[in-house]
């Protein structure tokens, strides 16, 4: 982990990452599971607690930092990626997480999200997608489905939704993953990989808002339905889903994907997931459900230079080429004249 200055002196436990604040989400909210999973994975980061910062915007999801016993900043609506970028520029020694929602991160904050991803700032971004504005009590969000009836759309929403992972891939994100609030194991695994990524890591966490959009991801909750609809993508493995007795797979015809019965095609005809291939991740992210399953896991992970590393390099080069800055010399450089 680049951002851990030293291995921590003490072995942390989950408890060490629980703050003294009362958690104020609605009972039953999916955010609880995410919080608990993040607290649980923290010790494994190997980063001293004081070197970890959680930055969020505004929304139910964005209350997150209050509950983490690390440094935290609950900022303003949509701007967390920009604030995190400034923090990383000031302090490349810190491990920075951004917590946001589908409204915070893709509605008002869509532009900052775009730019933090394309710049590849070294932050781990958790976007809680409940397909609704929770905190403002239930208006549709940019990820809500067309036709959705909400407080602000009594006759149904007229906006085509944006697909968070396709968006992230389209703007050049170097790590894009998706996971589910009710799948603790998968979530932990995915978040760990995201946190370990060098560069901007984008994780869409499908989250239940039981008050305003209950069971938005129901097809991935119910046991049977989940088997039918969840596609676990794993690097180097064929894309398979469905019950053991009727396992299905994806194959590609050119760039077009198709669902087949796994038993009916030769194994080497199956689409094998290659996380290093952004183009194929885009195809994957763009699959429509139904008829396609919902891919979860790391859709893409590629290497690219980190924004603040490049800036630090320039700073080092400037100092090594021309020496450290000296204001007295600068002031008297160039054209001057003396009055006696």
């Amino acid at each position: 982990m680049s951002t851990g200055t030293n291995a921590p002196q003490v072995r942390y436990t989950k408890k060490d990452f629980e703050s003294d604040q009362d958690v104020r989400w609605c009972p039953g909210c999916g955010d609880y599971a995410i919080l608990s999973t993040v607290q649980k994975m923290m010790p494994d980061l190997g980063v001293p607690r004081e070197n970890i910062v959680f930055i969020s915007g505004i929304g139910c999801s964005s209350r997150f930092p209050y509950y983490m016993n690390t440094y935290g900043f609950h900022t303003i609506h949509g701007r967390a990626p920009a604030i995190a970028t400034g923090l990383r520029l000031a302090r490349p020694d810190l491990k920075v997480f951004v917590v946001t929602g589908d409204g915070d991160g893709l509605s008002i904050g869509g532009n900052h999200m775009l730019h933090v991803l394309r710049r590849n700032v070294n932050v781990t971004i958790l976007l809680f997608n409940n397909r609704i504005y929770g905190l403002t009590k239930g208006q549709y969000s940019p990820t809500s489905e067309l036709g959705k009836v909400t407080k602000s759309t009594p006759m149904g929403s007229t906006d085509r939704p944006v697909n968070p992972c396709a968006f992230a891939l389209g703007v050049g994100a170097t790590f894009v993953a998706r996971t589910v609030d009710r799948n603790i194991g998968h979530m932990e695994e995915t978040l760990k990989r995201a946190a370990a990524h060098r560069g901007a890591a984008f994780v869409e966490i499908l989250q239940n808002c039981n008050i305003y959009n209950d069971m938005a991801w129901g097809i991935l909750y119910d046991r049977e339905s989940k088997v039918e609809h969840e596609l676990r993508v794993e690097h180097g493995k064929p894309l398979l889903f469905g019950p053991a007795d009727a396992r299905k797979g994806l194959v590609l015809d050119g760039v077009k994907a198709r669902v087949v019965l796994a038993s009916e095609v030769p194994a080497d005809r199956l689409w094998v997931h290659d996380q290093a291939d952004v183009a194929s991740a885009l195809v994957l992210a763009n699959l429509a459900t139904p008829p396609f399953p919902v891919p979860v896991g790391v859709l893409a992970q590629v290497e690219a230079p980190i924004y603040e590393d490049l800036i630090a390099d320039q700073e080092k080069r400037a100092v090594s080429d021309r020496g450290p800055g000296d204001i007295a010399r600068l002031l008297t450089s160039g054209d001057t004249w003396t009055i006696r």
């Binding site: 604040q21 505004i58 209050y66 900043f73 609950h74 000031a90 160039g334 003396t338």
Partner: protein, 623 residues
Amino acid sequence: MSQSTAAVPAATKPRRILDRAVVRFAGDSGDGMQLTGEQFTTEAAWAGNDISTLPNFPAEIRAPAGTLFGVSSFQLQFGSRRVYTPGDRLDCLVAMNPAALKVHLSDLKEGGLLILNTSAFEKKNLDRAGYPANPLDDAALDQRYRTHKIDITRLTIDALTGLPLNAKEKDRCKNFFALGLVSWIYTRPIEPTLDWIKKRFAKNADVAEANTRALKAGYHFGETAEIFAECYGVEPAEMAPGVYRSMTGNRALAWGILAAAQRTGLPVVYGAYPITPASDVLHELSMHKRFHVRTFQAEDEIAAVGAIVGAAFGGAIGLCATSGPGLALKSEGIALAVMAELPIVVFDIQRGGPSTGLPTKTEQADLMQALYGRNSECPVVVIAPATPGDCFFIAYEAIRIAVKYMVPVIVLSDGYLANGAEPWLIPDPKNLPDIDVRFRTEPEGFHPYAREEATLARPWVRPGTPGLEHRIGGLEKQDVTGNVSYDPDNHDLMVRLRAEKVRRVAQEIPPTTINGPAGGDLLVVGWGGTYGAITAAVEEAQTAGKSVASIHLRHLCPLPPDLGQILRQYRRVLVPEINSGQLVRVLRAEYLVDAVGFNRVRGVPLATQDIVDAINQLVESNR
């Protein structure tokens, strides 16, 4: 290169000594007028004059040649006494083409020197400038002004015969001819320009030679041509001894930041989104990475201010510069810093508005926005520089106050200060005041919103400090603990504390300097870039025997503690501003004095004469 003021060259024609002179070079965007003006400024500086400059360029990047909107100009005043402004009316206008004549002639004094480049006065240019008839043939021109019609283009090309340059390249040297000529007229030394040419074109000997020859040809043309009967001298000004340089406001801002960076040893995160006339601060800072200045060209102003709030949270100095529309966009980010009580500095280089307005013109109309342009009660410190060189000190001061009080500071510069230049006595950085940065590291008794007594500052904690992990945010904070609180009385208390903290910054303000008698008929109060014009006007009125004084406010929020007392010593108070009356409203509300405004919102600096007139009128009307 550093050297003492040069001796003025010996002249063979009679030389008349002037107190001061106002010269404007005007031509097409492509004619190099900015460069010409800057070089003439350097020459005057070498001659020991005090100087003030006013560059003026079109909003268009490269407007089509010969058009009115493509005219670019550079004005300066230089003198043997203190020079406060670039001057109202021109002693000398150099117009390189008809459009320049059309746009600028009205500013030339009657009897002033008018130099025209005749070969540019041909059909196409006349049409573009909208002249139905050639003004060269207009007798009125000769009657009202000392008009000199010179074929600068041809004379330049003649001077360059034999050089391996094509016609276009030769034509481009004509501004140096003009510069040479004006240098002769005002007997300013051309050595610094010769020097500059040598360095600038070190890699292109032919161009260097061409410009040198053009410059000298212009100079000798003045000396030898029959048309100039005399030349002028302006004696060195009495200026404080020391090493000087020419300084523009934007560069001074940037360097002030560097000085603070070095003094504190902290990294600087500079969030920027380009906008006229603030972009040059970004350009300048991006060249000084050695000072650990990290320039971040953000996706917009909101991200720029967001980033510096993040940087301040991280324990760095967070700064950004913008102009009016950008400041509007930064409101929410600044408000977050107010609530989180983090030190950031936002420079607003004011320009003409509202909306996109007049992006390349100057104005002082963002004072109210700086004071009040955020939701709810959201106090910040507001200060403003008086001159281009003062921008250095004000930037340093802004950072000093921000980190001492854990408070956002807005600095109001303007387009005139940003691009204008003055001879600047280089300060010794060692003499700059200390900047008090103390990061809390002690976990014992730590509360994020416990306060220091004198300043009400809360502790600044760098993430990475063990045992001080804490969470802050934009929701109302509980006093001391900083936890979220919706308690009514706590909210009332916090609103008062945030206001009181800003008020305490008054401790930092030195006693106000009164320019003139300590009481009398009239006090003129100014702030920002009108300092020069007001001071010049008041001195003129004083010379004329009026009972007038002036004060200049560098601190606009909080106001100087002695201000109310001072205002009451005068029968009337006049507040000249390049807005519709903003400071004057603040003063009236705060002190209940019947101050009146003098307001011209023309995108250009106030004219000294207009202020003199306003002073006279008010003094008379009061009798």
